[in-house]
Amino acid sequence: MKNSRYLALLVVVLLLALIGTSVQAQAPIRVALVMPSSITDISWSQSIYEGLVRVQQELGGASALEIAYTEGMFDVTAASQALRDYAEQGFDIVVAHGAQYGTSLFELAGDYPETSFAWGTATDTGADRGFNNIFAYEAAAQEGGYVNGVMAGLLTESNVIGIVGPVPAGDAILYINGFQQGVYAANPDAQVLLAYTGSFGDTAAAAEVAQTQISAGADVLTGTAQQVVGAIDAIQAAGGLWFGTQADQSPNWPDTVVASQVYDWAPMFRDMIAQRQNGVLGGIVYRLTLENGGQFFAYGNFELPAEVRAAADQAIADIEAGVVYPLAFMPSEIFRVAVVMPSAITDLAWSQAIYTGLTNIQRQLGGTDALEIAYTEGMFDVTAAAGAMRDYAEQGYDLVIAHGTQYGTSLFELAPDYPETSFAWGTATDTGADLGLTNVFAYEAAAQEGGYVNGVMAGLLTQSGTIGVVGPVPAGDALLYINGFQQGVAASNASANVVIAYTGSFGDTALAAETAQTQISAGADVLTGSAQQVVGAIDAIQAAGGYWFGTQSDQSVNWPETVVASQVFNWAPTIGQMIDNILSGTLGGEAYTITLANGGLRIIYGGVDVPADVVAAADAAIAGIIDGSITVARELPGQ
């Protein structure tokens, strides 16, 4: 009786399924960790173990979350066996807590499709090889490293700082790179001594490296991996200071450890568990950052001067907001950037903005020895600009920036001839991917956002009800800004009249002055404008006793009583991301947009005593744009 056999089979299957679901509902979630060192190493392994224990406590203890771990797995083959054992035993999530375990993990993950694996630090989930049950995670260690570096740079008295590294790879190199950038940003005169022990656990070697650095004059040290306990001991004996990472290292040396960057893995585990319940077994890359709470700072007993603490807090805030971008990579040899721009690096506008971005990154990376900047300014002639770009590419510059929309055609002609050179073009969104180009980055500014904020303030500040806009040409970055500005005025003062006039030039200062005076004659008491020409217009509105709103660069320097606020283009994070990409082998193909939300655009006030309600309206506009409750159109109806 064939049919009854099928029926019996169906019943059995259904029963099994029922048992399965009921068991799943009651059984604890089982997580296994395989780690290279011990859970008390006060660094790498301890941090993840503690994170998992925190989640266990939240969920109600071992009955809800079962934790198993294997520590001290410096032997990759042994670790591989441990991972397979846990998977075999039916653990839900098996964590391979070490970049070195990756090869083994990819060999076994396919055999256990129901098991979730997690691997760090890594960004590869194996999705392109067909794996769907591997999570990857990494800590943006350069962020906390940067903050530690800022404090170290300010605290050193000898101006010599030592770094005790394990091997130049993974999490350690990120931390070390970020730390150096923080030191240089806070104290360009400081010297950084960097030495690797070649080991993660050789405490004696770390102590020796530390003592050598102390002999060389270092009074502040940092380092990473479980080996560092030896180094902390050495710097304590010498009366110096230590900065920790991965876990809070202050309990044993409370007066020596100033601060520690602490990883908090709990949010990641929470999300992995939630994802599994939704049937997602892998494929997600987690990043521990300052912004998402994956990193926080623990301070020891050392009496940190208030200004140093303030600088650290500012650095944290800047990194969270995207204003400061610690690079993941540091160039091993001098990195050469060339930029071609239409006006002067001191134009208080367009060209100055990119040049300032470059010099900020240069300081962060350690000065002219790390980053060379070559520039050709005043290239209003596109043909001459094309020649300059070709020269730079020919000379082997790593990154050639065409800082002007008008240079695009030349750039696209030139880029295929120099496939090893990376190019950047702004403001633009086209990386030439359609033409098969892979070595061009594009960048632009969402200038309409700051334009809106400026417009809101202008609408509130005008007494005559007339606001003037001195535009260069109705295109590109200037048009975005002006469109945003009009929307901002309309939002804060519906009855205000915005009069717009274009000069047809970017650099004709006298014509900008005349345009401004004409608008003043027409009753305008608040003006704004774009491009390097505006200095003439600012002077005119100052003479008339009115207010000015700037864009591109901070224009209050010369007219502090007239410039209320400027939308400042902060290109440093964009340039930093490009350099990170280039150093990791990606020469182009990405388009960047600086916005208020990602810290690329900032509103900087001048010396005008702005009424509190105007500032509040500006802050509300900024917050609204960032959270999306205010959308600023790039184009106005009819354009």
Binding site: A344, V473, P474, Y502, T503, G507, D508, A510, E514, V535
Partner: protein, 316 residues
């Protein structure tokens, strides 16, 4: 604002912004009347513009505004002297050498700006002077008698130039040298010396024109801030048919066309319900200039016959 008020404001600004054209074009007029084409006005203006702002800015030398103008004139004259050596003594091709001087002035003023100023420097130069009684008159007072010293001086220069050229012995020599240098030479006029002096004067006035841009109109200096105004000045001399009065008319026409197009932009004047594209408006003064040049051919009456022709004794 009603149309009348707009017109008053437009005319006021027209006079103000015609100032650099007046100085530079009148200077060029002297040079051309003596038979030399100086295309280096642009470069001389730039040097004057930088010199003036650097002289008077607190971040620079901190001198009085008039001193700034004098120094700008001196620097312009120095460049005029160099142009005289090249064009008159060495008899270079005047069109080419003039462009050379323009580029030289652009480069040198940019370099000095970078080295000496380092970035944008600000200076308050000439404030408007309200002439007693006259400035209180309705309309006329606002347009003509509330301007700054540089504006008054520029307009005073028009009749002075006309008088010098038409009524003085030196003016006669200039005209003679420009029309027929060989004949003038025969009559005992030192052709070389006359051309040197006109180039010195032209250079000085170009320098002052630059100074008016930087310290009377804007209060700042920027690289290449003349933006071709020196070449417009040369065109205005042709446009004005080598007569100071007509050069002034040309400067005013160009200036008012430019100011009115700004008004058209800010008043959002529409044609057939459509706003006029700004790029089109910005071209208007230039189109107007070309159109007037085409329809004013009979003005060639005063064109110096020896213009651009180097003089060498025994030739011709």
């Amino acid at each position: 604002m009603n149309f009348g008020e707009i017109l008053v404001e437009a005319l006021t600004l027209t006079l103000l912004y015609a100032t650099p054209y007046l100085y530079s074009a009148l200077g060029e007029l002297f040079v051309q009347r003596s038979g030399v084409l100086n295309l280096g006005v642009e470069g001389m203006m730039l040097m004057g513009a930088f010199t003036a702002i650097f002289a008077i800015a607190p971040a620079g030398l901190g001198a009085a505004p008039l001193m700034g103008v004098l120094l700008a004139a001196a620097v312009g004259a120095l460049m005029g002297l160099a142009a005289a050596v090249v064009n008159v003594t060495l008899q270079a091709e005047q069109g080419i050498s003039g462009i050379g001087f323009s580029l030289f002035g652009l480069g040198l003023s940019s370099l000095l700006f970078k080295v000496l100023a380092g970035g944008v420097i600000v200076a308050s130069g000439f404030e408007p002077i309200h002439i007693p009684l006259l400035s209180d008159m309705p309309i006329i007072g606002r347009i003509f008698f509330q301007q700054n010293l540089m504006v008054y001086a520029a307009f005073a220069l028009v009749p002075i130039s006309a008088w010098v050229i038409n009524r003085t012995k030196w003016g006669l020599q200039i005209r003679a040298v420009g029309q027929n240098p060989a004949a003038a030479d025969t009559m005992g006029v030192n052709v070389v010396r006359v051309r040197y002096t006109t180039l010195l004067l032209g250079g000085a006035l170009a320098g002052i024109a630059g100074a008016s841009l930087s310290i009377a109109l804007t209060g700042i200096f920027q690289e290449n801030m003349t933006e071709g105004r020196g070449f417009i000045a040369v065109a205005l001399v042709y446009f004005g048919g080598w007569s100071p009065w007509r050069v002034m008319l040309g400067a005013l026409l160009f200036s008012i066309a430019n100011n009115l197009q700004i008004w058209v932009q800010i008043l959002e004047v529409q044609i057939g319900g459509q706003p006029i594209p700004p790029n089109l408006l910005i071209m208007v003064p230039y189109i107007l200039t070309i159109a007037v040049l085409i329809f004013a051919r009979q003005r060639k009456r005063l064109e110096p016959a020896a213009l651009t022709k180097p003089f060498q004794r025994g030739e011709n």
